[in-house]
């Protein structure tokens, strides 16, 4: 029982981070239908920009804000300079995906070239162990869970109650009709890429205070982001949250019965079964 509770706690911590990763990719995919493979690069980029600012002896919080700002800009730039010109040429989904993959690989390699392959820790965040009965976790974990949920709640409030949020939802449900009522979908796309990149930057920050950054951290995060979205349901951001929590908890609890190497396989198995039984995802709308 003690082990179960401990693993469940760990699952909730991981799941919260996965949920944040899920919405960060999901808001982009749901709105623009771009298989944004370069999201993994933005993740790594955010991590390293925060690091670079701390190396320039900027305190942690301003470094975080500056890092998030540059990551947001980078996300917008990818949309504006790479995807948008291809959309204008009405390039296929496949070619935009291949471009995204190119950005991911080139960007990740560039970070490797500039900063080397070593792991880079982000220091300065107070870490203490907290024990509640048999369950232990750290202040970093607590902070992660809190921040993830605050950000997710803010995002949903933004989408539901602001004009910009409603415009985003209009474009994601029907881009063509959104244009008829005077919404410039190109600007909404850039905005959405900015928001998604800001969110993934926060996720990158949270994992870098926990584990040091390396040039290839982005791939794992990317993988989780889109598996979460497809698992939870395309077109429904709530689905990504649900998918994230399920993955986090499943991946943590599976340790009770299987060695850790099978973690990835369990995630894949869940995904496979969901696609087989309910291709539109757990909360998704039926695909015509």
């Amino acid at each position: 029982m003690g082990l179960f509770l401990q693993l469940l706690t760990r699952g909730i911590i991981t799941g919260s981070l996965y949920a944040l990763l899920g919405v960060s990719w999901g808001i982009i995919y749901n709105t623009t239908r771009t298989f944004h493979f370069a999201h993994g690069f933005i993740y790594t980029f955010a991590s390293y920009s925060i690091l670079v600012f701390t190396w320039m002896s900027v305190p942690l919080i301003p470094s975080l804000l500056l890092g998030l700002f540059t990551a947001t800009l980078a996300g917008c730039a990818v949309e504006y300079f790479a995807y948008l010109p291809m959309r204008k040429k009405s390039a296929s989904q496949l070619s935009i995906f291949l471009t995204a993959m190119g950005i991911m690989i080139a960007g990740q390699s560039l970070i490797h070239l500039v900063f080397g392959p070593d792991s880079r820790p982000l220091e300065g965040f107070p870490e203490h162990v907290i024990s509640l009965g048999t369950v232990t976790f750290t202040t970093v974990d607590l902070f992660t869970v809190l921040l993830c949920w605050i950000v997710i709640v803010c995002l949903f409030a933004f989408l539901g109650h602001t004009k910009a949020g409603m415009m985003i939802r209009a474009v994601s449900s029907n881009p063509e009709k959104a244009t008829f009522i005077g919404i410039d979908s190109r600007r909404i796309f850039v905005l959405v890429f900015g928001i998604g990149s800001l969110l993934v930057g926060i996720a990158a920050f949270l994992s870098t205070i926990d584990k040091p950054a390396t040039p290839n951290i982005g791939l794992g995060a990317l993988l989780i982001s889109f598996i979460t979205v497809f698992l939870g349901g395309v077109g429904r951001l709530g689905g990504a949250v649900l998918g994230g929590i399920i993955l986090g908890i499943a991946e943590s609890l599976v340790i009770m019965v299987l060695p850790t190497e099978y973690k990835m396989m369990v995630i894949f198995l869940i995904l496979f079964l969901v696609v087989l039984i309910k291709p539109e995802g757990l909360l998704g709308k039926k695909i015509a």
Binding site: F97, L98, T99, G102, I103, L113, I227
Partner: protein, 575 residues
């Protein structure tokens, strides 16, 4: 010498991998991110089979090909079915899982140290124990792969793939199961990759997970994109160029630590550059040139004046239906989208050899009714019977085969294909559309193809397009494209033809010509149903008119009867 032979062997392996991925990515239009994983799996299978059974390496390689293709097909099919992004999702996840498993299943794969002592390839007492001695095997394998890929892509099967890349819906409206074609080309590609893995394991006598990483998969994708998608020669070029890059980088002083990221950066930058500025790759797809040569002989022999062909002869299939009265009956048909009842309790029956028109104001459910009858939408309620048999839930791709074919309001001809290929794609049950029959009965495929070219030419001439057979469809005028769409519809030889707004966007002269064509078709025994806004056309051709409003049939009769009714006029024009 051995170094050169080794580099050549390595380059050949990558050419094989690139060609096989090009089948999936270039010809199938699907991104597989797991090509290296399949390659590695093939290596392990062949290594384990030959080491445990002590059999010849060929048996190991064959087992690898068959097992991997079967597993790859079974796992990918549910994902391919949903949407194109889902295959990306599946293959990345699969790639990661396989890589992790190969590292962690020590008992089977030997973990990260891999399996040593894989038996060398030998055949008839010739043992390939050095790179130079292996070269003949590698060259033979490359030749076989090229032959298979060439044969598949230039066959009727390849033609369907090309159609799928242009317009999936149009392909299924011509009676092809799009998912089946995609899964099969995926299986062929992964099977070849696995075979390459097997050959590679017997060549290096060693197999480990390092060659099966995501980076390798991405490298192969970069090779395909660089060389040119849907072009086999380009794949060889792409593979050779990208093999050379790291060799050249080796000569850079002090760059040894940086080779991996530098290579990654170059591949990534090449991908971005090519997708943006030269998406067709170094060597673009020369599809048109080849098909032009192929169709010319048929065009010369079968030349006939256009007017004779308006009288269509009864084919053997049609004789099955030489009955009169209703041939297609629709009862109680209903379909809702959310809260909107698009089609509500709709009844219709089409009489053999008659022309029926569906008219009504915009948004009255005509097109939805059409999509329900042709299987593109599933009804919530109701039945459809065709020649006495229930066909209510039959998928769209089965419709032309049983004798129901449709055209599209927005034409949906294959713009990038020749006029002749547009028609050939519409022919039903072609042996050449099966990869297996392509290889075991090539003579039958060839004979059928000649037959189909003749038939296609007949339908082309009936629309006055005989001279245009080798033209690329997008170069035709709009009116000609509309005629081509009809010729393509006829080439399915379906009994019932459903035409969606055939006269939209063309001038009155065309409409006159079209009315003549459609009357000729009905006289030859075809059953026709049109959705149409042009009331002159409706009056000119239809035997029966159904008037629809808000999803329901509200009147039925001859065109004159309905047009005399002032109430219908009000609904129609909204006054």
């Amino acid at each position: 010498m051995e170094y050169l032979a080794h580099t050549l062997n390595l380059a050949f392996i990558f050419v094989i991998l690139t060609v096989s991925l090009n089948l999936i990515l270039g010809y199938g239009g699907m991104a597989s991110m797991a090509h290296a994983a399949f390659f590695c799996i093939g290596g392990y299978i062949s290594a384990i089979v030959t080491m445990n059974l002590g059999c010849n390496f060929l048996i190991g390689v064959l087992t690898a090909i068959i097992a991997t293709a079967a597993v790859g097909g079974a796992l990918s099919a549910p994902f391919i079915k949903v949407q194109e992004e889902y295959l990306i999702l599946f293959t990345i996840a699969f790639q990661m899982v396989v890589y992790h498993l190969m590292l962690s299943l020590y008992n089977i794969t030997g973990g990260d140290s891999g399996i040593f002592g894989v038996p060398a390839a030998s055949l008839f007492g010739y043992t390939a124990d050095t790179p130079a001695r292996f070269l003949p095997f590698m060259a033979a394998f490359l030749f076989i792969v090229y032959y298979v890929a060439f044969k598949i892509t230039k066959s009727p099967f390849g033609r369907v793939l090309k159609g799928i890349r242009e317009d999936e819906k149009a392909v299924s409206s011509l009676g092809k199961n799009v998912i089946k074609f995609k899964v099969i080309i995926f299986m062929v590609g992964t099977g070849i990759a696995a075979g390459a893995g097997g050959v590679f394991a017997h060549y290096t006598r060693f197999i480990s997970p390092t060659i099966g990483s995501l980076d390798q998969s991405i490298l192969i994708i970069a090779m395909v994109v660089l060389g040119g998608t849907a072009n086999l020669g380009g794949s060889a070029l792409g593979a050779f160029l990208l093999i050379i890059i790291p060799e050249v980088l080796n000569f850079l002083p002090g760059a040894s630590d940086l080779i991996v990221p530098l290579r990654g950066f170059i591949y990534g930058a090449l991908l971005i550059f090519f997708m943006r500025f030269r998406p067709e790759g170094l060597i673009p797809e020369y599809f048109h040139l080849r098909s032009r040569k192929r169709t010319l002989p048929g065009a010369r022999t079968g030349k006939q004046p256009a007017d004779d062909c308006l009288h269509f002869s009864m084919t053997s299939e049609e004789k099955m239906f030489n009955r009169t009265g209703p041939i297609l009956e629709v009862k109680n048909l209903s379909k809702s989208f959310g809260g909107l009842r698009a089609v509500d309790n709709f009844f219709m029956s089409l009489d053999k050899g008659k022309i029926t028109a569906l008219v009504g104001p915009n948004g009255c459910g005509k097109t939805t009714a059409f999509n329900l009858v042709t299987g593109f939408l599933k009804p919530d309620k109701g039945q459809i019977h065709f020649a006495g048999k229930e066909i209510t839930n039959l998928p769209a791709y089965k419709m032309p085969h049983i004798g129901i074919a449709r055209s599209w309001q927005d034409i949906r001809i294959f713009q990038g294909m020749t006029v002749m290929d547009n028609l050939l794609l519409a022919r039903q049950s072609q042996a050449g559309e099966s990869v297996i029959r392509l290889f075991i009965m090539p003579w039958r495929v060839r004979r059928e193809e000649e037959e189909n070219i003749k038939k296609a030419f007949f339908y082309l001439s009936s629309m006055g397009l005989a001279e245009k057979g080798s033209e690329i469809a997008r170069n035709l005028s709009y009116a000609e494209q509309k005629l081509l769409a009809i010729a393509r519809l006829l080439a399915t030889e379906a009994e019932i033809l459903l035409l969606d707004e055939p006269s939209s966007g063309v001038d009155p002269n065309w409409v006159k010509q079209f009315m003549q064509i459609i009357r000729g078709l009905a006289a030859s025994g075809k059953t026709i149903c049109i959705v149409e806004h042009n009331l002159d056309l409706v009056r000119g051709v239809s035997d029966t008119v159904y008037f629809m409003a808000e999803g329901q049939k509200i009147a039925q009769g001859t065109a004159e009867q309905l047009m005399a009714d002032p109430k219908l006029g009000e609904i129609y024009f909204g006054v």
